[in-house]
Symmetry: C2
Subunit: 346 residues, 2 copies
């Protein structure tokens, strides 16, 4: 089986087999109405020519490309790339292809051309895997009603009439906070993610609510905002120690920043978890090998992605079979707490 330099066409195959192009079409589409002999002969020629039908021509006439568009941003971060990983695997598994667009910035606002580009290539659906930040969902309100293909969002605040698959970030924050309380920590600080991120806000609210339900006072200098990076975490933790001298533990909004918190504690000569307990968020693979190993909230981005793909393909297929349209819904997956040395003092 070789890949011909000049790809052969259905016409050439038909001529060589002495049949019409429709007959070849029937063979490659496994239609029943071809005599066994004809089918065999045609298949022989197909093999011999290394013939492969043009997905392009097919998409054009069938109005269906078996291709999904995926829009992402910040692939250099672990979260988005893990998500893309899940999408790519699941899509492949279900026999679709993937057209990838990466936004130059998380908050890119001229998304119309991106969408146009995807639609002009006849994608059957679009997965929007860009985190919800600031006003970067504003376009949704005007555009969605007249949108021509199914659209599924990954990780954003629930909305009416939109299909969404998310991890419950609020629950994750609650798990982290409760755990620290159970371990006897009473002065829990927080290093937040950038608060224009929906996810960061969710985690922070959970921390606040966790404190207040435990009857603990919350002050504005008990938390500092970071930007997810280890570098920002280093700055944040420094400031937090200053602002909150009797702090005995920190819930950090992601593992990279938590790493810096561990690092800062070492520099100060503090013992972890005796002097200061630390809990992260994400459960990146390395977090089990931090020093000490990091307690963190496990969120399965990979699985979120797979569920999103299943959902959109379900919607696509149902539309194509003219079945009942599937109502948009929010699917929320639950994170879990992974307890390790950085917080366990009981």
């Amino acid at each position: 089986m070789t890949i011909e330099h000049r790809r052969s066409t259905i016409k050439e195959v038909a001529q060589a087999a002495g049949v019409s192009t429709q007959t070849v079409s029937r063979v490659i589409n496994d239609r029943p109405d071809v005599s066994p002999e004809t089918r065999q002969r045609v298949q022989g020629i197909i093999q011999q020519f290394g013939y492969q039908p043009s997905a392009l021509a097919r998409s054009l006439i069938q109005r269906r490309s078996y291709t999904l568009g995926v829009v992402t941003a910040g692939l250099k971060y672990i979260g988005p790339s893990r998500t893309l990983n899940g999408i790519a695997e699941k899509v492949e598994e279900l026999g679709y292809s993937l057209l990838l667009k990466e936004l130059p910035k998380f908050t890119a606002n001229n998304i119309v051309p991106i969408l146009q580009s995807l639609l002009s290539r006849q994608v059957d659906g679009i997965i929007w895997a860009v985190p919800e930040i600031g006003e970067n969902r504003a376009w949704l309100e005007d555009q969605l009603p007249e949108f021509s293909v199914p659209l599924v969002f990954i990780t954003m605040a629930p909305r009416q009439n939109v299909s969404i698959v998310s991890v419950d970030n609020y629950l994750g924050g609650r798990l982290a906070t409760s755990h620290l309380l159970e371990q006897g920590f009473r002065h829990i600080g927080h290093i937040a993610g950038p608060l224009d991120w929906w996810e960061a806000r969710q985690r922070m609210s959970a921390w606040k609510d966790g404190l207040s339900e435990a009857g603990l006072e919350f002050q504005d200098n008990h938390w500092v905002e970071g930007n997810w990076s280890s570098a920002s975490g280093a700055q944040a933790v420094e400031k937090l120690f200053e602002q909150y001298p009797n702090m005995d533990s920190i819930f950090v909004a992601n593992d990279q920043m938590a790493l810096s918190a561990l690092n800062a504690a070492h520099h100060k000569g503090l013992m972890i978890p005796e002097d200061i307990g630390i809990v992260g968020f994400d459960n990146i693979p390395e977090s089990a090998y931090f020093w000490p190993s990091l307690t963190t909230v496990h969120q399965d981005q990979y699985n979120v992605a797979k569920v999103a793909v299943e959902e959109i393909i379900k919607i696509i297929e149902s539309g194509w079979q003219e079945l009942e349209p599937i109502a948009p819904k929010s699917i929320v997956l639950e994170p879990t707490l992974v307890t390790r040395q950085s917080s366990l003092r009981l």
Copy 2:
């Protein structure tokens, strides 16, 4: 500007504007031979209809899709996803689209269908971003001669008549080893990556050569093989300490495994870098915040990717303009050493 539910066609625009489809075509392609008035009228209708030409139909007739195929594997790892990040950004910048295929395994052997699928969608070129492992380049020998579109590989051993963009892994390994020697370490162990990976072998050879050029003996129990993960690094370093008791430093083939080496040293109560020096490879962003901060070899996967995209597009465009074909070449980028606390004892 709205996205119409039913996408309009060139024919509809032509009718509405009272011209032929050809004229509309000229307008959307910015051809000069249209009168200003006609052009304006047509553009008005285009705006009004929200008309967007079908990239599919265009690709079909022009035999050119302005789409690149990219084949990757192991997106859950930092390296491949960083590479994809660079590819996606550069491709976007140059006005192309990206069709993404992720192999289920690094060593998947039935790559013909993958290639077929890409070619059947008329990609203008393919970037092969799967690491070279075991025999997973075997297909190249038979297939390449008759390959119909440009193909550029990222990170593999140089070969005749193949376009390749790589980081010089051997040089990286030499930088790491020399640095440890300069710092006065004389008993340098090595935690290798999986040796069916070309990159892992390069790094290891450099370590061996570095030792022997310094007149140091090398023994087979001075190194252990890992699989890039922190978990494997933890096992490897344990074994290495056993096998090589008077070891005073380790060159670890990537940062994740180096993290485990740091961790193991802490557990053993060893001081870093006084008792044991450690150097990693990759320079992941977190490595600056390990405890202590990690000396490592910086390889710019992002830049490799960008160069690869530039190269393939250069080849594509030249082919299309019927210029001199661009000869395949190997482009090798140089890594640099980033010195931090884990190895600096002078």
